[in-house]
Homo-oligomer: 381 residues x 2
Amino acid sequence: MKRISILGSTGSVGTQALRVIEANTDKIRVTALSAGNNIDLLEKQIKTFDPEVVCVLNIEKAAELRSRLGGKIPVLSGLEGLIEAASHENTDLVLTAVPGMIGLLPTLAAIDNGIDIALANKETLVAGGELVMKKAAEKNVNIYPVDSEHSAIFQCMMGNSYKSIHKIILTASGGPFIGCSYEELKNVTVEKALKHPNWSMGRKITIDSSTLMNKGLEVIEARWLFDLEPDQIEVVVHPQSIIHSLVEFNDHSTMAQLGYPDMRVPIQLAMFYPERLENKIKSLNLAEIGALTFHKPDMDSFKCLSLAFDALKIGGSMPAVLNASNEIMVERFLNREIGFLQIPEIIQAVMKKHNPVYNFDLDTLLEIDNWARRISLELQG
Amino acid sequence: MKRISILGSTGSVGTQALRVIEANTDKIRVTALSAGNNIDLLEKQIKTFDPEVVCVLNIEKAAELRSRLGGKIPVLSGLEGLIEAASHENTDLVLTAVPGMIGLLPTLAAIDNGIDIALANKETLVAGGELVMKKAAEKNVNIYPVDSEHSAIFQCMMGNSYKSIHKIILTASGGPFIGCSYEELKNVTVEKALKHPNWSMGRKITIDSSTLMNKGLEVIEARWLFDLEPDQIEVVVHPQSIIHSLVEFNDHSTMAQLGYPDMRVPIQLAMFYPERLENKIKSLNLAEIGALTFHKPDMDSFKCLSLAFDALKIGGSMPAVLNASNEIMVERFLNREIGFLQIPEIIQAVMKKHNPVYNFDLDTLLEIDNWARRISLELQG
C-alpha cells in the first residue's frame, strides 16, 4: 500500500489525482492533503480520503476549517504547514501540485526525508533545479514528472540511458492565441487568455500557456529532469496536443508518447511507476483524429518562450529571476494592472537588471527570488 | 566484438546491414555471408568483410563462385548450405534477410545452436511462429525484429511488460495504390506494382506492399513476436511513413517510434541492442514535415489484408497456407500469368480448401506448405 501526501489537492491536478486514487483504493492511500483557500472542497476530500493531517495555506481559512472539524484531525497552515505536510511521516510519495515558487521548500523538505516526488510544480525546478536535483541524488529520491510533456519524455526514456539522448522535442499546443501576430496580441484580455483550447487548468498555468511562458518553464524544467544541455531541447507547436513530447536518440530513432489530453495518465504513472494500471480513459483512434500537425513556435510574437531559452542559456540564477518575475507579471495581468504584451516586456527588463550568480545556495536563491519579485512590482513596462 | 552471419547479404536489408557494419568495424565482424544468385556483389562483399564461410543458394552460381575464389574460403550451396551458414560456429547473431519460407529452417537451426536472431524474414514467423517462438524460449535465444514496424513496437516496449499491452497499431504507407478502388486495381501492371513510394526493397516485398499483404504478414508476425491476441492488433494507413508503429498500454498511454524511413535504424538496433549507436542518419524535423495523416485501411479493395486477419483469427496452419499461397501468387503475378486482383482471389480459394491443423510439428508444416504451393499453382482464379 503506497502512502501519498498531496500538496494542492483542490486544484486541477490535485482533484484529478484524487480521482486516480479513488479508482485504486487497494493500492494507495492519502496521508496528507493541502489546499490554498478552498476549504469547502478540502472538507469534502477529508471525508472521502480520511488523511492523517491537512494543511491550508491561508491562515484564516485554516482556522475556520479547524473549528469546523472540531479537532478530528490536525489542520496545519502557512508555508510551514505545507512543509510539514510534505514531509509527513508514513509518506512514500508527495504530489507537488501547488503553483509557483511556494512549492520549492516543501519539495526540498520531502526529499530531505527520503520521500519520492511526483512533480507537478515546474517552478520548483525552474528556480531551484540544481539544488533539488543534487539533493534528490544524495538522498536517492525519485522524481517522477507529472507535467504531460515531461511524463512523455520520461516514458520515451524507459529502457534507455540519458547518455543516448540526442535531443528532446517538447510539443506545445500553441495556446489560445496561436497564429496571432505581435500586434494582434496587444488586445488580449484576461478573459480571452483564460480560455485554453485543450486543457482546463488553474489560472497561473493558463496564462502561462497563453504567453507560451509555460512552454519556456517546461524547457528549463526538462533541462534539470533529464540532465540536458540547452541546445538539446526543442519546442514544436502541435495544436492537437496528441503527441505529448518526443525524444530523439543518438541513433536517430525518435520515441513519442501519445494520447488524448488527460492528466490522469501522467498522474497515475507517477504514482505507480513502473506499473501501468488499467483505467477508463479513451483508447487512441488515429484514423478518427486524421492529422497531427506541427510548426515552429513564433518566438517573435511569443517573447516569453524566447526569454526562457535566453535564461536557460545564461544559466545560474537567471531562470529563477525569469520565474519570479513571471509569477508577479501574471498576477498583475490578472489584476488588470498591465497589458498582455507587458508580461514579457517587464520580465525582460528585470532580467537585464540581474547579474546572474552561479552555484548559489538556498538562501541566495530566496534572496534573488525576492529581489526579482520586488523589481517586477515596481517596473511599469 | 560481436560476430554476425548474414542470410541474404546481397539484398536490400543485407546491403544496408553491411553499411552499418562498415561504420562499426570495432564492434562487429562478419562470420558468414549468403546470397541467392548475385555472386558478383557477393564476391565484392567477401573482399571487404572477409567472412569465414559463404553460401550461394543457386547451386550452379555457387560452383562458379567456388572456382573464382580458388578455395580461399568454403562456398556452401543450396538450403543445406544456408542452414550451415546460419548455424556457423563463432556466430552470436544471424540476420535472416532472405525473402520467403526458405528462411524457416536456417532460423530454426540457428536457434538450436543458441544463436540470437535479427529477424528480417517475416514469412518465417507467419508460417512457423509457434514453432520458432517455442524453440527460442527453450534455447533462451533473443529474437530482435528488423522490420521497421516490429522494431518500432520493440522500442515502444522497452522498459514495459508484455502484459501491460492494450493493443498495438501497425502503420502502413498504403503502398503505390493508396486510394484506388477495387475496380481500379484491375489494371495494375507489374511495372506499377514494383514502384513503392517510400521504400526501395526486393521484388517480393514490394509486390506484397502493393497488395497490403505485407501488412497482413506483419500483423501475423507481430502476433508471435509480442504474444498478442488477434484483436489486439490494428492497422492504420499513414502515408508519410514517419511513425513506424505504436503500442497502446493498459493505462491508455501510447508510445510510438518515429524517424525518416531508413532501415539502418532497426538493423543497427537489432545488432547492438540495448545500445543506440550514433550514425549519420538525418535528424527528425517535425515542423518541416508539417503533417502526419492517418486513415483506416480499405480492406474491401485490398483483400489481402483482410485475408491475413482471417488467417490469424482461424489460427493453426491457416497463416502458413496464406503465406505459401501468397508466395506463389506473387511469383505468378511477376511472371504475368495472373492479374493483380487474382492474387487475393486465388489465395482465398486455397484457404477455403484447407482444413486448419493445430499444434502441428515441423514436418506437418512443411507438408501443408507444399500442398498450398501446389494448389496455388493449379488454380486459375
